[in-house]
């Protein structure tokens, strides 16, 4: 009976189901798109900057002092290397220094990298726009080589083959100075990164800055984002054996890039507000349908009550009608939403129009939505819940009808 009641006014029913289906399609797609973009933002950012995880000296993240080091990186490396979830790892050492060209001087972050390891964990190698990436031979101090960010090179007015003088303070307080030749100029898309960083071979860095074999970061890239917490747990437990004085800590990407996390949270919140507005519109559509149904069918409800239908049964009838309509809309919406999302997950969406904005997160070219159980079901589940609540009002209103008044309702 509920099913037949739904189709009394096919046009209105189809419109209502379409509204629910449309909202579900939009929610599945948009949530997948958001999750996909977050994954891309995280993965791009970790590939350019931090990695998924880092092992550092305690307090280094807050105050990047050259003295706060990982003294025996190879031991940490062994632990990390033994984990199957780890895709790659490398060591980095960093120091704030003055870099001078013939014309200008800037304060920059000098980063010592292992060329081979860095190529595994970051996109630095692929970001080289002019010149070449560092090689293992460049560890030779006789002809020190460096990679410079595109914006920094422009600010320093230098090009490939030009020399830069690096002047800083070593770990032991001594003066760290060297002259490096620019071997490559990179452009990561992250302006802040491209403006204030140069990269030199790790061994060179360790010599210049008197690091005594220490590094500042052991950078780890996981095979998948979802492996990060497991790796963090295992590494945290593992380093306790080699770090008896508890100098070291394991930080995940959220701790390493709080700004990125906040940006994601803000985007998610604004998205949720938008989705709730959309769902409320659909809920009002359902509410309207059922209030109309009550007005149109009041006399019939009177008949049903007269022949012995209890108020509870009438309420159930109306709720079944609303749930049936909503479920048809939701199932249709989820199926179409998944198909559309699946298509774009494979082929991607051209985001060249927003490349400047998204470039700040290291995303360029095409963005791929990420369809998951969560993105496919959470939005439609909220639609179901809110439309059920919207239908509850008219369904409960029927309980208040008096049979004799309903029978004479015109």
């Amino acid at each position: 009976m509920a099913w037949r009641n739904i189709w009394r006014n096919p046009r209105r029913t189809i419109l209502t189901i379409s509204a629910v289906a449309f909202a579900s399609i939009l929610l599945v797609f948009m949530l997948s798109f958001q999750f996909g973009s977050y994954d891309a933002m995280i993965n791009s950012s970790v590939k350019i900057q931090t990695g998924h995880l880092q092992i550092q000296a305690k307090g280094y993240q807050d105050k990047q002092s050259i003295q706060r080091v990982v003294p025996h990186p190879d031991e940490v490396g062994e632990i990390v290397n033994s984990l199957p979830e780890v895709d790659a790892y490398t060591f980095r050492a960093k120091a704030f220094s003055l870099v001078s060209s013939k014309e200008r001087t800037y304060g920059v972050v000098v980063t010592g990298i292992d060329p081979a390891g860095e190529a595994e964990v970051s996109t630095l190698k692929n970001s080289i726009r002019r010149g070449r990436y560092l090689s293992q031979d460049d560890q030779n101090r006789e002809s020190p080589q460096a990679l410079v960010g595109k914006l920094l090179a422009r600010n320093l007015r230098v090009g490939l083959g030009d020399e830069l003088t690096v002047l800083g303070q070593g770990r032991d307080g001594s003066i760290a100075a060297t002259v490096v030749k620019i071997k490559g100029i990179y452009s990561s898309g992250l302006d802040a990164f491209d403006r204030n960083a140069i990269h030199i071979p790790l061994k060179l860095f360790q010599d210049i800055y008197s690091m005594q074999g220490a590094v500042h970061q052991v950078v780890v890239v996981a095979k998948s984002l979802k492996d990060v917490s497991e790796i963090k747990k295992t590494v945290s437990a593992g380093i306790k054996n080699i770090d008896t004085k508890h100098f070291l800590t394991v930080l995940d990407w959220e701790a390493l890039m709080p700004g990125l996390r906040q940006a994601i949270e803000m985007d998610l919140v604004s998205g949720v507000i938008y989705y709730l507005i959309l769902i409320m519109v659909v809920a009002f559509s359902i509410l309207n349908t059922f209030l109309m149904a009550i007005f149109e069918r009041t006399q019939e409800f009177g008949v049903l009550m007269a022949i012995g239908t209890s108020p509870g049964r009438l309420t159930r009838l109306l709720l079944i009608e609303s749930l049936s309509m909503t479920m048809i809309g939701i199932i249709t919406g989820v199926v179409i939403g998944c198909l559309v999302t699946g298509y774009f997950q494979i082929h991607g969406i051209d985001i060249s129009g927003a490349s400047e904005l998204l470039g700040q997160y290291g995303i360029s070219g095409r963005l791929h939505p990420k369809l998951s159980l969560l993105s496919a079901t959470s939005g439609p589940a909220v639609v179901l819940m809110i439309t059920f609540l919207a239908a509850l009002y008219p369904a409960l209103k029927v309980r208040g009808l008096k049979p004799v008044e309903a029978l004479t309702y015109v």
């Binding site: 037949r4 019939e300 008949v303 049903l304 007269a306 022949i307 239908t309 029978l407």
Partner: protein, 228 residues
């Protein structure tokens, strides 16, 4: 034995600030198996009395007992339950459920009673056969004439073996020959199943069929004639 007892029933309606006294101290008793017409001009209180007897409305004061059950002591669900099992209704404008076929309309009451599908179907078909609608099982109300719809309504009212059937001007929307046919059917049911029928009516033909006619005027019993 009285199947229905009304004792000192009073009912007042409020229409804005105006009070309309619909029933004033009505006391009546109905024998089991009787075929009774409530007659009287419009506004005399016929329909109000039927609604109160059927538990669709409550009296302001007084007492109604149907087959030993007093409506005034029941909540809405209990009244619905009593209507389901003891009272059948036939309305002036048929009031069938438009989305259900004739057979399903008749079955619906038994569905509410929780009868098994096979028994529901058999009884519904039997009763539709009895009212002469054996070829109309699958027709929806919109596909039936007024007389046919009213026969479905009678079948729906009678199929659950109620103690009483209340019919509010059942022939008012029918032509005289269709109305006569319907009355024949109801009289037949009354005699065959010993079900009490109480009508409200203006129709002399209905009054002719009744074995008792109660005249109401201004909410009071003006006359009460037992014909045979």
């Amino acid at each position: 034995m009285h199947i229905v007892e009304c004792v000192d029933i009073n009912k007042t309606y409020h229409q804005g600030k105006v009070e309309v006294l619909a029933l004033k101290g009505v006391s009546l008793a109905f024998e089991k198996g009787s075929f009774v017409a409530l007659a009287g001009p419009s506004g005399s209180g016929k329909t109000t009395l039927l609604n109160i007897i059927g538990g669709l409305d409550l009296a302001d004061s007084g007492r109604v007992v149907v087959d030993g059950n007093a409506f005034d002591k029941m909540n809405r669900s209990q009244r619905a339950d009593l209507r389901l099992n003891k009272v059948g209704f036939v309305f002036q404008s048929y009031n069938l459920i438009p989305v259900l076929s004739a057979l399903e309309n008749v079955e619906f009451v038994m569905l509410l009673q929780g009868l098994p599908p096979a028994e529901r179907r058999k009884r519904a078909k039997d009763i539709l056969d009895e009212v002469g609608l054996e070829d109309m099982y699958d027709r929806r109300p919109a596909e039936l004439s007024g007389g046919q719809q009213q026969r479905v309504a009678v079948a729906r009212a009678i199929v659950s073996n109620p103690s009483i059937v209340l019919a509010d001007e059942p022939t008012a929307n029918l032509d005289s020959s269709t109305g006569k046919g319907l009355l024949e059917i109801m009289k037949q049911m009354n005699e065959k199943k010993n079900v009490t029928f109480i009508f409200s009516t203006h129709d002399n033909m209905v009054m002719d069929y009744a074995d008792r006619v109660i005249y109401l005027r201004d909410g009071m019993v003006a006359d009460d004639r037992v014909k045979r």
